[in-house]
């Protein structure tokens, strides 16, 4: 190479680096994705940076899909997603990155079903709800309410909540075409609070100015409100988790540290403050006990669906060799060993799991526990089947 060229190249590099400014001083972490999680992410970031000065966390929205795509393109460190990664996206990751992203739960969310405060409706079954959203019921008097049209408010069809309700309430059927889709859960709450005929759904964290409806799985079972304990224990039929996705080969220790911190009590306090529910440690314990391959402190993914939809979700997949070797190193925080941070950087280890008051409250509710255990068992079964399947795959 001619010297002039190398000099020019160096000059260009120098120029580009100069233009980059002082950005490299702080340790940067970028979180991008779900709009639902924006507010929570911001508060988490702010709190975290107060605790660990010298870090710079950037939070941006755009949507879960944008976050996951950005993670794939390596333009973000953490993708926030209010839904689970789609098979298509997993394939995309496998093709372009070579491995799929690891999932970490950050919070729990109950999808509240709500009506205007003037509406006398108290409780609905999932089936009735489905018929309302599908457009079979068009008048409140079909449900024992006043003789008024039903106005259905929905989120945009790309929202994780939309998919969740479509799967869990509508059982895959379409929303009525007359359903109004609004940008943002707050807008749905706001609209229903102003519309006496309205019904809507959305994350519990936004709950203001409307009347929540108790939900029951079938006409004979008891109905539940999306309260903290009901969601934690999963007795409330419409519970889901909010997730972070991370590139398993990331070199950003700070990102890992942040995620661990979110699962810690300090982080969970912020989660609760921002309107969502904290991760149920009881369930994490249950996971540990049943040696679920998903050795995360994450809650069980929302009932049934994620496992069925996404067997490749589990992080102790035999294919990602290193991770399989030490699943027990971090019982509470899910960290594939490849990701384990520097000893120096390592955050204070999360306190050992114990039954908090909150959890104790949950345990008192025998019904709830029974239901939960049934669900856990069900999930366990599926996971075992999954494991068996994977083993056959590997042996082949």
């Amino acid at each position: 190479m001619f010297p002039i060229q190398s000099v020019a190249a160096k000059a260009v590099v120098l120029l580009l680096v100069t233009a980059t400014g002082l950005a490299a001083q702080d340790q940067n972490v970028t979180i991008k994705g779900s709009d639902t999680m924006l507010v929570m992410n911001q508060q988490l970031a702010q709190e975290y940076m107060k605790e660990f000065p010298g870090t710079n966390i950037q939070v941006s929205g755009g949507g879960s899909g944008v976050g996951i795509a950005a993670l794939r393109d390596n333009t973000t460190d953490i993708a926030a997603a209010s839904r689970l990664i789609k098979p298509k996206e997993v394939q995309d990751f496998l093709v372009n990155v070579g491995s799929e992203p690891s999932r970490f739960s950050a919070a729990l969310d109950g999808i509240a079903i709500f009506v205007n405060t003037g509406n006398p409706i108290q409780e609905l079954t999932i089936d009735q709800l489905g018929k309302i959203f599908h457009g079979d019921y068009t008048n409140w008097n079909q449900l024992g309410g006043p003789d008024e049209e039903i106005d259905v408010y929905s989120r945009e069809n790309t929202s994780g909540t939309y998919s969740y309700v479509k799967d869990e309430v509508l059982k895959g059927a379409d929303y009525t075409t007359r359903a109004q889709t609004l940008p943002g859960t707050a807008a749905v709450y706001d609209a229903v609070s102003k519309d006496p005929k309205g019904i809507g759904y959305g994350g519990i964290g936004y709950n203001k100015g409307v009347k929540l409806v108790s939900i029951k799985s079938d006409p004979s079972s008891p109905s539940w409100l999306p309260t903290e304990e009901n969601v934690e224990s999963q007795v409330y039929p419409l519970s889901r988790s909010l997730n972070y996705y991370l590139n398993p080969r990331t070199t950003n220790q700070q990102a890992m540290k942040f995620i661990q911190w979110v699962a810690s009590p300090a982080g969970q306090d912020v989660v609760v403050k921002s309107g969502y529910f904290g991760l149920p440690k009881v369930v994490a314990k249950a996971d540990e006990k049943t040696t679920a391959p998903d050795s995360t402190s994450a809650p069980p993914p929302p009932p049934a669906r994620p496992v069925a939809a996404n067997p490749s979700q589990t992080s102790t997949k035999p294919t990602s060799g290193e991770t399989a070797s030490s699943p027990a190193t971090a019982p509470a925080v899910i960290a594939p060993t490849a990701l384990m941070p520097d000893p120096q950087l390592e955050p204070p280890a999360p306190p050992p799991l114990s039954l908090s008051e909150r959890e104790a409250r949950v345990l008192v509710r025998e019904e709830a526990v029974a239901l939960r255990e049934a669900k856990v068992a069900e999930r366990e079964e599926k996971l075992e089947a999954e494991l068996a399947f994977l083993k056959t795959t590997k042996s082949k």
Partner: protein
């Protein structure tokens, strides 16, 4: 006798700059006339200017290529989201040819070749999962064909063929007709408000108003152009929908966020466009036209309506066309204020979903390279062409206006100019 040498120095008290004595003139001309001082630099600069101007073309081309590239799979009908339920056992992967694997995984062969066996098996597992259909017979359909995108279809659970846009779920339904309908409906409502108001206002401001009034009113209306569309959308969402609430007595199906609310909010975004262009076109009509009418006793109103406005008609039409293009391309307002329900309801009190709002809302979440993603870009391509056609139409109309005012060819323009000069000159002298 040489007149130049005698007369000039008399007048000049110093150097006579630039004076060339006659005896030297021919010699000097034979040199200087052939000089091209700085012409290389000038040519280079002009070439540079030309080159930079092409960047606008480049930008449009790049944008178009970008959109078209992503919508190509739909345009070529290469997308296929039918789920046959035919899965492939991961362990069979080694026996399959790369071509077969590529077809199964919807990848190219070169991509398949780069994958490690582990990743390949994971991919097959994941793809199997995707292919495992629900129990609906509809799952065997490829819902991304032209027929499914533009014609009604009787889906399972419906008792008649319907147009449905529901791109998320077990069976994705990609019928774009409700979106096109929604876009047209809201645009129509917006133009219904914006067109008469802004055209009347433009005519008034340009021709009828007293100068002092014009100086106040015009900047005020133009200020509307400075309101960001996100603010307009927000005002539609929180203000207009409440303001129009009492209208629900007219329709039992009334929804608070509806095409009327969105249309009115959108009208606010369109009004400055139509107003500015129409006002320019009307003001561009030579004042002589109007004076001629005034001189034979027409009122200001009649002179304006019978002479000025007809003369500016192409420009006014172009303003409307550009307003239409703006309305159909506007995103934030409709996203926030329209309610976004993809219905085919004719009522203005019903919500409607537009093409742009669909892109804005759904592209964020659509998985890259999925059928949904490509179809959203296909919608983008449609929008691009709609605005493209609108622009070309407006361009042709404006060109016609220009030639009407200036004469169609250079020669004619020249002749007209000379004629005008003559008239002017003889009238003065």
């Amino acid at each position: 006798m040489n007149p130049t040498t005698t007369s000039l120095p008399e007048l000049s008290r110093g150097t006579v700059l630039g004076f060339v004595p006659p005896q030297e003139l021919e010699k000097e001309l034979s040199v200087t006339l052939y000089e091209r001082p700085g012409s290389y630099l000038e040519n280079a600069i002009i070439r540079g200017i030309t080159l930079i101007s092409y960047s606008a073309i480049a930008a449009v081309l790049l944008i178009f290529i970008f959109i078209a590239k992503e919508s190509l799979p739909v345009l070529l009908q290469q997308t296929d989201n039918s789920r046959s339920g035919l899965t492939m056992k991961p362990e069979d992967a080694v026996n399959k040819s790369p071509a077969e694997l590529a077809v199964f995984l919807q990848l190219t062969e070169s991509q398949v070749a780069r994958l490690s066996p582990d990743v390949l098996q994971q991919l097959i597992v994941s793809r199997n999962e995707e292919l495992k259909a629900g129990n609906s017979p509809d799952s065997k359909l490829n819902t991304t064909t032209w027929g499914m995108m533009f014609l009604p279809y009787q889906w399972e659970g419906y008792n008649m063929p319907v147009f449905i846009w529901q791109p998320i779920g077990n069976i994705e339904k990609y019928n774009v007709i409700p979106l096109i309908f929604g876009s047209l409906k809201i645009t129509f409502i917006a133009l219904l408000f914006a067109m008469p108001l802004s055209l009347m206002a433009a005519t008034y401001v340009s021709q009828l108003a007293r100068p002092e009034t014009r100086e106040v009113i015009k900047p005020f209306i133009e200020l509307l152009a400075g309101v960001p569309s996100v603010v307009l959308g927000f005002l539609g969402l929180t203000g207009l929908s409440v303001l129009l609430g009492p209208l629900h007595i007219f329709d039992s199906h009334y929804t608070p966020l509806n095409a009327l609310v969105a249309g009115m909010a959108l009208a606010l975004a369109v009004i400055p466009v139509i107003f500015t262009i129409a006002e320019d076109a009307i003001t561009a009509v030579p004042v002589t036209h109007k004076r001629a009418a005034l001189a034979i006793g027409a009122t200001n109103w009649h002179a304006t309506m019978r002479v000025v406005v007809p003369a500016a008609m192409p420009g006014i039409f172009a303003a409307v066309v550009l307003g239409f293009a703006r309305a159909i391309g506007e995103t934030m307002v409709v996203l926030l204020a329209s309610g976004n329900a993809a219905t085919l309801d004719l009522s203005i009190f019903q919500s409607a979903r537009t093409l742009t709002a669909t892109i804005a809302a759904e592209l964020n979440e659509a998985a890259q390279d999925s059928a949904h993603y490509h179809i959203l870009f296909f919608i983008g391509t449609m929008l691009f062409f709609i605005t493209f056609l609108g622009n070309i139409l407006a361009d042709i109309i404006l060109q016609r206006l220009k030639s009407r005012l200036e004469g169609s060819t250079a020669a004619e323009a020249h002749r007209l100019a000379e004629q005008a000069e003559t008239q002017l000159g003889s009238s003065v002298v």
